[in-house]
């Protein structure tokens, strides 16, 4: 049975672990353990154009493993240890049941990479009272506004933060006339909405807006379709909203006018990128590459950051007590050194991690927002995304 697959093996080991028993026995008396769960759901992607770079199967998990390793090195000086337990639910699997299982096992820190609607459902379960959830993957602004929850923190920048970061850069370039092209999916519509909001906020003008509805895989037809699609419009940049990469890659170099492509393709705002090496990031990138043989992705960073936050809480409070750590993470003293040139903190009103946003092309870091000159009375990072007065969330 053991040879058949990983599932039996892990159940087996879990049983052994349970038999060895609670932390009061033996050596573990001195070592206090923090157990963290990572729950992800496999997303079935439709056939898309850019099937050249498929996301790694262990995306997210490896970021978590590196953070656990870092936490444990620090923990060795604090008599603290950290464990990560990963559960992956199939695309059509029961996320709620898997989540309930984790809570029943006693996990109180759970990092989630599941769709936005599921996040709210999980956070609202009665047993989710007294746990802390981290959203590692969903960029939805609704989660930072009307659907915010006190037990849910957001590590990934929201769409509004990404669009604002891009808008600030375009405005510093004085590229303020945008042609917005939106893909056919709901998430593309939401990205487009964030772009429109950013244009209003920073004074750009959307001179044209079109929906891409040529269907999937235009690889061999794009050359004839895109020029016509973009003809007769006077604009500075083409802003594309195509989150899963169905057509966006095929707009550049084919537009009627010679114009740059920005947004979900071309010049892209993101929380993390393989070309980022400033502020010590080179070290994190190199540790990650040595451990995994691949580059760190935004989702890896999205799982790394909450586990490091939990580690920071345990170190700073010298405690592994959940309530103590929770109070620290949500308190004013919290700061995370996240390799982005300044400390990262959580917004008190909606639980969003404040962070600089990278603007990248596939093989180069172009800029980092906030751009110089965008000021804010609290933190210049609050020029990105929904600021306190405009947020529909009031957790503070």
């Amino acid at each position: 049975m053991l040879h058949r697959g990983g599932a039996w093996y892990s159940i087996c080991c879990m049983a052994v672990a349970l038999l060895i028993g609670p932390p009061e026995s033996g050596w573990s008396e001195e070592l206090a353990t923090v157990r963290i769960a990572y729950l992800s759901q496999v997303v079935e992607l439709p056939p898309k154009l850019s099937n050249l770079e498929l996301p790694p199967e262990d995306e997210g998990l490896q970021g978590g493993r590196l953070a656990i390793k870092d936490n444990n090195t620090t923990g060795s000086f604090m008599k603290q240890s950290f464990e990560l337990h990963h559960v992956s639910v199939p695309a059509k699997g029961d996320v709620v049941a898997a989540f309930r299982g984790l809570l029943a096992e006693g996990f109180r820190f759970v990092i989630l990479n599941v769709p936005a609607s599921r996040l709210v459902e999980l956070a609202d379960l009665p047993e989710s009272d007294g746990v802390l959830l981290f959203n590692a993957g969903a960029p939805d602004d609704s989660l930072r506004n009307e659907d915010c929850r006190a037990n849910l923190l957001h590590v990934r920048p929201s769409r509004a933060m990404l669009a604002d970061a891009l808008a600030q850069y375009l405005m510093t370039k004085k590229w303020d006339e945008w042609f917005l092209v939106i893909g056919p999916r709901e998430r593309d519509r939401l990205y487009g909405e964030a772009v429109r909001r950013a244009a209003t906020r920073f004074g750009a003008k959307i001179v044209a807006e079109k929906t891409w509805d040529f269907g999937p895989d235009a690889r061999r037809t794009a050359q004839s379709e895109v020029p016509v699609f973009t003809q007769g419009i006077d604009y500075d940049v083409l802003v594309v909203a195509d989150e899963i990469g169905e057509f966006g890659e095929y707009l550049a170099y084919r537009t009627w006018e010679p114009r740059p492509v920005v947004g979900t393709q071309g010049l892209t705002p993101t929380s993390w990128h393989r070309t980022h090496e400033r502020w010590g990031a080179a070290q994190l990138q190199s540790r990650f590459f040595k451990a995994t043989g691949r580059r760190m992705t935004p989702l890896d960073y999205g799982v790394w950051a909450p586990i490091r936050s939990i580690g920071e809480a345990a170190t700073r409070t010298r405690s592994t007590d959940f309530a103590t750590m929770l109070a620290y993470i949500k308190g004013p003293e919290f700061e995370l050194a996240g390799f982005k040139g300044q400390k990262l903190t959580f917004r008190a009103w909606n639980g969003q991690l404040r962070q600089p946003v990278l603007l990248v092309s596939p093989t180069a870091l172009v800029s980092v927002s906030p751009q110089q000159g965008y000021l804010h009375q609290r933190s210049h990072l609050d020029t990105l995304g929904y600021d306190e007065p405009e947020s529909k969330c009031r957790l503070n």
Binding site: T74, F77, G280, Q283, A337, G341, Q342, K343, H380
Partner: protein, 323 residues
């Protein structure tokens, strides 16, 4: 009698010109240019640029000041530069990714922070061999050594601790938690305090070397500069223990701190992203490497004024001076 006097003067002049007047020389590592800039500090100009290995960061003089040890981080070893010929004459093992190091007051061994491997490597500079490896926190960088060479203090950037290490047993004797991303550690010359800078935390922790307690935390506030941009990295304290200088990174300033009262006296505007600091041996001048503006600033320590900036290579990082 008169002739004898004239002869004496003549001989004295000859002797003086034969042994060159001590000229102050500054060496700077250029991280992204893979080179060392040699600066004549009397003329305030670069006199030579020497190609070295990949990503040179920390640099330090040998005890006899005839050699310069260079952490060539991406080559995973230390290069040895002969200062008379300005030629690389060999390498020393360092463990992977050496970033910053410090030399025992006796001239041997060298304690190297291996940023990628959470290690301190102890290197015998005479034998060219590794004596010991000491596991420390994540991303070790800052290295301070007590004046008697008995206590090594290493800071780990991601673990956020200053590790006190016994240099005889190589055991960690204390871990002092400081603010985020500690970059640099330096002992006061009386050995009583260790000053540790925290880049992301924005503070300097002054640690009592005997009790290993933080006795003072120094914060900085500069009108018109965002708090997040104040990122302390390099620090130096004068030998008389009266003044401390702290490089504040992207705040583009060096803070002058009264090292007795811990009050910040002044902020000196230098180049962009100021990084590491070094005094001239007589402590009359202080030099700063400015990572983004690719220059060094020269500070008059008595007047507390920036008197000159000198262009060097790209991303100047480490800096040492010699008479």
């Amino acid at each position: 009698m008169r002739a004898w006097f004239a002869w004496t003067i003549a001989i004295a002049l000859v002797v003086a010109s034969a042994s060159p007047v001590a000229a102050l020389t500054v060496y700077v590592s250029n991280e992204k240019d893979n080179s060392i800039s040699v600066i004549d500090a009397d003329k305030m100009e670069v006199t030579a640029t020497i190609p070295v290995g990949q990503r040179p960061r920390g640099i330090i003089l040998s005890k006899d000041e005839t050699k310069l040890f260079i952490c060539t981080s991406d080559d995973d070893h230390i290069e040895v530069l002969d200062l008379a010929s300005l030629q690389t004459i060999g390498t020393l093992p360092s463990g992977p990714d050496p970033e910053l190091f410090i030399l025992h007051p006796s001239g041997n061994p060298l304690y190297v922070a291996n940023e990628d491997d959470n290690l301190i490597t102890v290197v015998d500079v005479e034998q060219g061999s590794v004596i010991a490896e000491i596991p420390v926190g994540v991303e070790p960088e800052g290295m301070g050594l007590s004046p008697d060479g008995k206590v090594l203090v290493n800071t780990s950037e991601t673990t956020n601790m200053a590790h006190f290490i016994d240099t005889e047993s190589y055991e960690i004797t204390a871990n002092v938690l400081v603010d985020s991303r500690p970059r640099f550690a330096v002992f006061t010359s009386d050995g009583k305090q260790v000053w540790v800078t925290s880049e992301i935390g924005g503070t300097v922790s002054v640690i009592d070397a005997a009790s290993r307690e933080i006795v003072q935390k120094i914060a900085f506030e500069i009108p018109g500069v965002r708090a997040e941009a104040i990122q302390p990295v390099g620090a130096q304290v004068t030998k008389d223990g009266k003044l401390a200088f702290v490089a504040l990174g992207p705040a583009n300033r060096v803070a002058v701190v009264d090292a007795q009262s811990f009050e910040v006296k002044k902020y000196l505007l230098v180049g962009q992203r100021v990084w590491q600091l070094a005094f001239s041996p007589d402590e009359k001048l202080l030099f700063s490497t400015n990572g983004v503006s690719n220059d060094i600033s020269v500070i008059d320590v008595e007047k507390l004024k920036v008197i000159k900036s000198i262009a060097v290579g790209r991303f100047p990082w480490g800096i040492v001076t010699k008479d």
